[in-house]
């Protein structure tokens, strides 16, 4: 249950590695079990993949697909910020703009393309977006919409709901929107109060502007039904078991989707899910750790896979800076230098982890890399001797005892990463006392305000493609804004920079501002970056039109097809 939200940036052009469909990269992970990965990891930034040879066949309709997810959606409402809801409900919806999926696009990079909108929005000024909707888009032929046409009124109602309905978990994300207007049946105008760069990205992400019939806003139907314009129509939902969908015959992209039916299988146990993939009961499985990925690669040689970065067991360390010992920057720096990132990468990530910052450079490649952070770069070195010196200077020559707060519900790899670190910290005298916190308490009181913890917090990986959430929520001193500010950062130098990066439309300028923020955080070590973890997505060799994404929903389904037909 890691925190993942897809926030996109407007990229001027595709900014990603071109992988090429024909390459089959050597996979070497974990070897014979006596040490770190031996070779074959490719250049930093190149995910490992086996994408199969490009096919000359043409897509044929028919077939069914089973995708695995790990837990039930708490409900089906597009207002609920649950990755499992996104994974299941989004099959039935379209957004105005969507995430483009193709093997040539790195799983971490995002490219926006029009979905329900006919073309990218016009921007007569920096505060206005005008969307022209496609003509003749119909809702699913099920109640209450019964196949009627989608209009700008539906779009307006949806966007207004996302930004102001009491049920919407996304209100904070759209606080910069001033008004939404249905200019005519096919045109929607969105006006902002102030420039807000991440806007379009969020609107196209897994928690984006999914358009539903406006009459469904009354009552609770949205929680139990998923009626939209999307490629698949929800047929049935058996709680804790599966959700089944059938093809939408009136989908506005003619010819799509190719698949006749879809099943989302809910399988909490990873061991069971892996076995299910091996025996062909499940066709798509994501978030496979690198060790099991190695097993799968060898056992199912016709299966395709792609490595994704910024996953469990990567993450960060937050510390309570409001009181000793972590109110002293030297202690935080010592903690960072006592932490052996390479050992963690070898032990948990098959040697392919990358040292991380608050903004994971594994995901956001345009952020300043660690070696450009100046003096502060040395804090990422593994240097227990230097750490001890810093601790002594700060008044802790014998070290100290401190709680380490974690939750078991982020999964076994996450727990292992914390367990491994205990030995690292003990070397410099920091004696850690693990505190297990159940998820409910964690997510409502420890990870969020009022941040009920002291000492160390073992943070999970989370993925946003835009740097704004990483810095805004984790560094903002106002508790109403800094909803993830577990380190209780209150640095006057940061606040103007945070606001400035949100408004700077020019990419190069914005990156400079973000770089300033990165340097301050690095010098102060408000958050200690661990490694960017890696995981694998696997899919059947006969599934074409598929590639991996870091988001939790599956925009690939509309273009996927079965090459055995």
């Amino acid at each position: 249950m890691s925190e993942r939200a897809l926030w996109q940036r407007r990229l001027g052009r595709r900014g990603a590695l071109a992988l090429g469909g024909a390459a089959a990269f050597a996979a070497a992970c974990g070897g014979g079990g006596t040490g770190p990965a031996a070779g074959g990891a490719g250049a930093p930034g190149t995910p490992q993949a086996r994408l199969g040879t490009p096919t000359t066949k043409q897509p044929k309709p028919g077939g069914s697909l089973t995708i695995r997810i790990t837990a039930d959606p708490p409900n089906w409402s597009p207002f609920t910020a649950s990755t499992y809801t996104a994974a299941t409900a989004n099959m039935a919806y379209n957004k105005l703009l969507k995430l483009k999926v193709s093997p040539e696009i790195d799983p971490a990079d995002v490219v926006l393309e029009p979905d329900l909108a006919e073309k990218m929005p016009e921007t007569p000024d920096e505060l206005t977006f005008i969307f022209t909707l496609r003509p003749n888009v119909k809702f699913h032929d099920v109640p209450p919409a019964n196949g009627r046409l989608m209009t700008a009124e539906d779009v307006k109602a949806a966007i207004d709901a996302y930004r102001s309905d009491s049920r919407s978990a996304f209100r904070a994300d759209y606080s910069s929107i001033d008004s939404v207007e249905a200019v005519d049946a096919r045109t929607v105008r969105v006006k902002l109060k102030e420039p807000y760069v991440p806007l379009l990205g969020i609107s196209a992400g897994q928690y984006g502007w999914r358009i539903f019939p406006k009459e469904m806003l009354e009552g609770d139907d949205l929680k139990t039904k998923a009626v939209g314009t999307g490629p698949f129509i929800l047929e049935s939902y058996a709680p804790s078991s599966k959700a089944t969908y059938r093809r939408n015959p009136n989908y506005f992209k003619s010819g799509l989707p190719y698949l006749d039916s879809l099943t989302v299988a809910i399988i909490p146990q990873d061991a069971s899910a892996l076995s299910a993939f091996q025996t062909g009961q499940v066709h798509v499985i994501t978030q496979v750790d690198c060790t099991n990925a190695q097993q799968l690669k060898n056992q199912k040689r016709d299966a395709r896979y792609q490595q994704t970065f910024d996953n469990h067991p990567g993450g960060y360390i937050a510390v309570d800076t409001s009181r000793p010992p972590f109110n002293d920057a030297r202690v935080r720096q010592a903690l960072s230098m006592a932490f052996n990132r390479k050992a963690e990468s070898d032990a948990l990530m098959c040697g392919e982890g990358r040292p991380d910052q608050l903004i994971p450079t594994g995901a956001f490649k345009k952020a300043l890399p660690i070696n450009q952070l100046g003096e502060a770069a040395k804090f990422w070195d593994y240097n227990p001797a230097e750490a001890k010196k810093l601790l002594a200077a700060a008044g802790y020559p014998e070290g100290f005892e401190v709680p380490l707060n974690y939750t078991p519900q982020y999964g076994q790899q996450h727990v292992s990463s914390a367990e491994r670190a205990i030995a690292d910290f003990a070397v410099v005298g920091i004696r850690v006392k693990p505190q297990a916190i159940q998820y409910n308490e964690w997510i409502s009181q420890v990870y969020r305000p009022p941040f009920n913890f002291t000492g160390i917090l073992w943070g999970p990986s989370r993925y946003y493609t835009d740097p704004d959430p990483y810095v805004w929520y984790w560094l903002h001193p106002d508790p109403k804004q800094g909803i993830s500010n577990q380190s209780r950062v209150n640095d006057p130098a940061l606040l103007p920079l945070l606001e400035k990066q949100r408004r700077t439309l020019d990419e190069a300028e914005r990156l400079k501002v973000i770089g300033e923020i990165q340097k301050i955080v690095a010098a102060q070590q408000y958050y200690i970056g661990r490694n960017t973890g890696n995981a694998y997505a696997f899919w059947e060799g006969w599934l074409e039109g598929w590639s991996a994404r870091l988001v939790y929903d599956f925009p690939q389904v509309e273009q996927a097809w079965d090459s055995r037909r």
């Binding site: 249950m1 925190e3 993942r4 939200a5 089973t66 039930d72 708490p74 409900n75 207002f79 609920t80 910020a81 649950s82 990755t83 809801t85 009491s166 049920r167 978990a169 996304f170 209100r171 904070a172 994300d173 928690y207 609770d220 929680k223 139990t224 058996a238 709680p239 804790s240 078991s241 599966k242 099943t263 299988a265 809910i266 399988i267 909490p268 146990q269 061991a271 069971s272 899910a273 076995s275 299910a276 091996q278 025996t279 009961q281 499940v282 159940q438 998820y439 409910n440 308490e441 964690w442 997510i443 409502s444 009181q445 969020r448 959430p469 929520y473 508790p479 109403k480 909803i483 993830s484």
Partner: protein, 317 residues
């Protein structure tokens, strides 16, 4: 006797009431906020919105008010609505109870067949090799952790045989073959553990009865061994066996969390875990009421049987 039953029934109801009250208190003693999970754990939700949500769900009212409101609903036959899915609690339960029920039924059947047979066999072969081997097997059955065994089956099944039980549940009427395939291994895993203790109970019960004077008389009278066994021994021995069985029945319904998790069965076990973790209190209360009712009923049956067997226990109480 009927007043005894009626009185015990009344007591059972009191227990049930106490149970729901205790659970309610416990649930609210767990730190954490249901509202956060209702809105979604990965959202960036402001405190105001949380407060609004709590108000909307009635979570802001003082605890006694919430409990009484729930109780009022129960007395009207309304189990309430899940805070998360907004579906009626009864629907949530109904969707899953059929799975747990099927698992329990198959496991208990296996337990009965294997357990009673093995136990009787061991008693008949008392002191000899057959007895010893059954005893050891029985204890082995009790000792192996069921989730470990289950995971090994799934992992090595896939690896060595290319087969694992289906991970997708289908109703028995829709596809009996697939359904049985899915339940076979978990039912065996649960059932064999139950069979183990049932076989031990059967063995000692049969042995006890076999030593009774009237059985020895029957032997002396020249009745063939099997007739003695069936007509006298087994019937009397059945009482403690049935007692244990009814206790097991109560326990197995409540104890399937781990097995359901390993074998991906969409049953009550998962629902219990999820609803408690989320503090979905109408759902938790509904489940507890159901389980509690079942177990209280099982206890009632056992106590009644005791009252029948041993009047000393009944006198004066």
């Amino acid at each position: 006797m009927s007043t005894y039953v009626a009185r015990r029934l009344l007591l059972a109801l009191v227990s049930l009431f106490g149970l729901t009250l205790l659970v309610f208190v416990f649930l609210h003693a767990i730190p954490g906020d249901a509202a956060v999970l209702v809105l979604g754990d990965t959202g960036h939700i402001s405190q105001e919105q949380l407060a609004e949500t709590r108000r909307r769900l009635g979570l802001d009212d003082p605890l006694p008010v919430q409990y009484v409101r729930w109780l009022g609903g129960i007395l009207r036959g309304d189990l309430g609505t899940s805070l998360f899915t907004s579906r009626p609690v009864w629907h949530e339960i109904r969707d899953r109870i059929k799975v747990t029920f099927e698992l329990a039924l198959l496991a208990l059947t296996c337990s009965l067949l294997v357990g009673v047979t093995a136990g009787t066999f061991a008693a008949v072969r008392h002191g000899r090799a057959g007895d010893q081997s059954v005893r050891v097997l029985a204890i082995l059955g009790l000792a192996v952790p069921n989730f470990w065994l289950g995971t090994m089956v799934i992992v090595f099944g896939a690896r060595w045989f290319g087969w694992i039980p289906p991970v997708q549940y289908v109703e028995p009427w829709r596809s009996p073959g697939q359904n049985l395939q899915m339940f076979l291994v978990p039912a065996l895993v649960v059932g064999l553990a139950l069979a183990a203790s049932l076989s031990r109970m059967t063995r000692s019960a049969v042995l006890e009865v076999a030593r009774e004077d009237y059985v020895r008389t029957a032997h002396a009278k020249g009745l063939p061994g099997r007739a003695v066994l069936l007509r006298h021994t087994l019937r009397t021995a059945l009482i403690p066996i049935v007692t244990l069985f009814s206790i097991q029945a109560g326990a197995v319904i409540a104890g399937t969390v781990v097995v359901e998790n390993v074998f991906n069965l969409p049953g009550m076990g998962r629902l219990v875990l999820d609803s408690i973790s989320r503090k979905d209190f109408p759902l938790v209360q509904g489940i507890v009421l159901l389980y509690g009712g079942f177990i209280v009923l099982a206890n009632l049956t056992t106590d009644l049987l005791y009252g029948v067997i041993d009047p000393r226990i009944r006198v004066g109480r």
